[in-house]
Symmetry: C2
Subunit: 152 residues, 2 copies
Amino acid sequence: MKIEEIIKTNSKMSNGTRTVINLSYTARNIEEFLSTPFKEYDLSVQQYNVLRILRGQKGNPANLSTVQERMVDRNSNTTRLIDKLIKKDLVERQVCPDNRRKIELFITQPGLDLLSELDPITEQNNAQILQNFTENEIETFNNLLDKLRQNE
Amino acid sequence: MKIEEIIKTNSKMSNGTRTVINLSYTARNIEEFLSTPFKEYDLSVQQYNVLRILRGQKGNPANLSTVQERMVDRNSNTTRLIDKLIKKDLVERQVCPDNRRKIELFITQPGLDLLSELDPITEQNNAQILQNFTENEIETFNNLLDKLRQNE
DNA sequence: AATTATAAAAAGTTTTAACACCTAATTACC
DNA sequence: GGTAATTAGGTGTTAAAACTTTTTATAATT
């Protein structure tokens, strides 16, 4: 369905408005679809992303600020988000010995185990979303998204 | 910048994951950019969208369910969202005489005035986001977004 | 060495969202 | 006409996001 039909607008929108609404609507749509499996694991998409960032460190610790930098949406509550992961034993936190303002974050073994359980589900869902896209379209789409971000 | 550079990932992602992250990140990015001017007017993007929906009725009342249907993100708290607009005198609510379960929502004159003030700002910002896109790219982008939503 | 500035993280507060449940009005059906 | 089912909207509670302020540690300055 075209976006105009979905939001049942009767006045015609400008190209800019239409595109922005389409982007926003589609992103929410996809995010909702993807978040469903996480609910069974009592994990938010955000928490899952933090776990993946920590795993990406391959054993090296990450500071809170590093995690924030890499988050898809960096909000200001990363401390509390990580508190929750710690409470579930998925993450460990220790004060950095070199600079006691910093903290060092590690993913635990249970955290890694959880990720290996979730990864295939996510991969499959991500793939499903793109199932009707050709390789070419995927490239085009990513390039257009990259280009869209250049204007602010 | 490519999305991989932005989130500084060191492990390579699948096409699906990369694209989903790119979409999500870009949408948030754009939404944040667009929401800035609204803050000065003490209005959220959601509230602005509801006002536009009511104006789109061109004098006819809208039910709550109609508004919900047309919202970009239909959440379950539309009642309370509209409460806030009423408190600011931007919207009026009355019980539908034909069916007292239904309510009728109208945008007020101050609501219309506020919209005419905000519209050019939004239009300009929406246009700015697309400034580097050709007409062709805009069409392609919208088509790809539409296609992306077909898979769930 | 004391003073100021900056940086990293945490905590406080207020809004907003999510989810389930509730209430009132209408419709359907016996 | 009385009872169940459905529909439209509202409430309550809890959790998460947004925004702001505070705390503590380090760096810079004088």
